[in-house]
Amino acid sequence: MSMGSKGHFKLAVSNLRHNRMRSLLTILGITIGITSIILVIAIGEGIKRQVQTNNAFLGNDIITVQPSQSGNPLQPSLTALTQTDAQAIAKLGQVSTVVPLAAVSGTVSAPDSKPMETMVIAAGDDVGDIFGPLVEYGDFSGADTGESSVAVIGTTVAARIFGEQVPLGREFRLRGQHFIVQGVLKDVGASTLSPAANLNNAIIIPFKTGQKITNANLPVYQILVRIKDREQMANAVAAINDTVLAKHGNQADFTVLGPGDSASGNDKTITTITYAIAAIAAISLLVGGIGVMNVMWVSVTERMQEIGIRKAVGATNRQILTQFIVEATVVSVAGGVAGVAVAYAIEGIVLLFSDFKMPISWPVPLIAFFVTLVLGLLFGTAPALKASRKDPIEALRNA
């Protein structure tokens, strides 16, 4: 009854080839629209990953507990988490290691170097169990002997205070306490927006020393929990949540995050902004779609005689309709495919010149394909209807 879809496709391609420049420009319109939407979403996703405050990079069996109001780990809401929370979590059956992290402020001074401000993290005794893989030289062994304590320092700190890569055994002072460098962390990557990066700038000291030199009950900004069985992740997250909730008098002023989860707050804001910008980018796609429609109108008007001839030799309205809709859809989908390709190319180029990752997730090409398909159908239908309903005699007379 009707010609095959392959025939329609071939016909469309040959017609588009004939008007090469016009087709390319129309395709470009769609390409720009698709590329900008994909990139906006990818950039948003990239930013989100950078500010994620969970510690997924530590391993997939680590759960993070943190105060929920806090955006900045250095300024946690003071009441949120305490060491007792950590102790309560440690009593849970699913848990193998609990490490509370607290921030200590102070100026670090070493012989032969200017005093400098840096981030000092007081970490629970089992820190070696979780941060162990991050250590490049030395280890987390050693403890506060009263007279001197131990520290593991980030690479940036090592370079800036001691001017060497492996300052093991070197000494420094913080708030009057004497420290010996026991270990140096690996370079954890300089993703500027993530607190993980701060480990390069961090000095990790024992929790007890932290308490001693500040004379205070240290506010915990994060509790890292390693669980025994990663299959039980959801279970463990729930158990930890319940435990801390009970401790806090049912006040949910904290968040429990599995390794894949991302911290709330920031994340939601970024998502909102991302989709708002993506919506603006979608306007360019709409403009591209209107471009398709415009070109199809012109094409239908120009090809009136062709339509008349096709009808005169027996093409039904539906066959003409299909021909023009397929043509519009081919333009649109070609634009979509090109848009995805350009987006991936830009992602690659950005990655080449910086370490900002813009993750384009796998359904993106698929979604782009369907969006452009729908776009072609949507904007191709009106011109195609005009073509198909044209009276054959009138169409022929247009020659």
């Binding site: 095959g4 004939h18 005689q305 027996g314 039904t316 066959q319 005699i393």
Partner: protein, 285 residues
């Protein structure tokens, strides 16, 4: 059995005072196997008649029976299919798609019938061979002479094996050699049993026809049977008895022709149309 039967078929364009009567209650019956030439001056409704018979246009009034089936009120899609399967149309301006090769042009009707590429091209190739253009299959229309182009168009009209071939001034854009080529081809097709209608301004070409219909102002004013091979009597009469007055008349051969023919009754109102139809029917006999 009559293949084509028009009963009081009218075609009007426009509204009110601007109404233009292209066909004025035409009655015409064409039997299977006839080779009909339609003559008449420009604007006499020849093309409209061809378009209506070819299902490209619908009559405003009246009834059209194609193979004893009323087709005057068919939906566009139904008439498209009927057109595809039963009628081959040939145009003065060839109307080939300029970007397709001769072969692809001939295969076009088969495309809309839903045939696969291989069968399409095979049948089209056979048809081109029949019109003597098998060596020009991959030529574009612009690379062919006028006569050859029209032969490709004829092959396209024939490819679906239609019973009826309608040609609207098939030789109008051709020189005498091209005309001859095309008319000989139509004549051959006629011999295989097809019913053919063609419009022409050239009295000489009535030699090919078995019947000549003369039109004026949307009405059929004369209708004569003629022997194939002879120029129609009235056309001959025009050619030999009425001296052509100038070059234009020579070229068209029409004004003189019409002058020699009985004129259509004086302008009348639509109310009296029944009577005048009767009058015309009488005058025909």
């Amino acid at each position: 059995m009559s293949v084509i039967k028009l009963e009081d078929v009218s075609k009007l364009y426009g509204f009110g005072d601007a109404t233009n009567i292209a066909l004025d209650e035409v009655n015409l019956t064409i039997e299977e196997g006839e080779f009909v030439a339609v003559m008449g001056p420009s604007g006499s409704g020849k093309s409209t008649l061809m378009n209506v018979i070819g299902l490209l246009d619908r009559p405003s009034h009246g009834n059209y029976l194609l193979n004893s089936r009323s087709v005057s009120k068919l939906k566009p899609n139904r008439s498209a299919k009927l057109r595809r399967d039963t009628i081959g149309f040939i145009f003065q301006s060839f109307n080939l798609l300029p970007r397709l090769t001769a072969l692809e042009n001939v295969a076009l009707p088969l495309l809309y019938k839903g045939l696969g590429t291989t069968r399409r091209l095979k049948q089209a190739s056979a048809m081109l061979e029949r019109v003597g253009l098998q060596e020009r299959e991959y030529y574009l229309p612009s690379q062919l002479s006028g006569g050859q182009t029209q032969c490709v168009a004829i092959a396209r009209a024939l490819v679906n094996n239609p019973k009826i071939i309608i040609a609207d001034e098939p030789t109008g854009n051709l020189d005498s050699a091209g005309s001859r080529l095309v008319m000989e081809l139509l004549s051959e097709i006629h011999k295989t049993g097809n019913t053919i209608l063609f419009v022409t301004h050239n009295p000489e070409l009535t030699r090919y026809a078995s019947r000549v219909v003369y039109m004026h102002d949307g009405a059929i004013i004369a209708d004569e049977q003629t022997k194939i091979g002879d120029v129609a009597r009235r056309a001959r009469q025009v050619m030999y008895s009425v001296p052509t007055t100038n070059e234009e008349h020579d070229l068209a051969g029409v004004s003189a022709l019409m002058a020699a023919l009985p004129q259509k009754p004086a302008t009348r109102t639509r109310k009296s149309s029944k009577k005048s139809t009767a009058h015309r029917t009488r005058s025909k006999k």
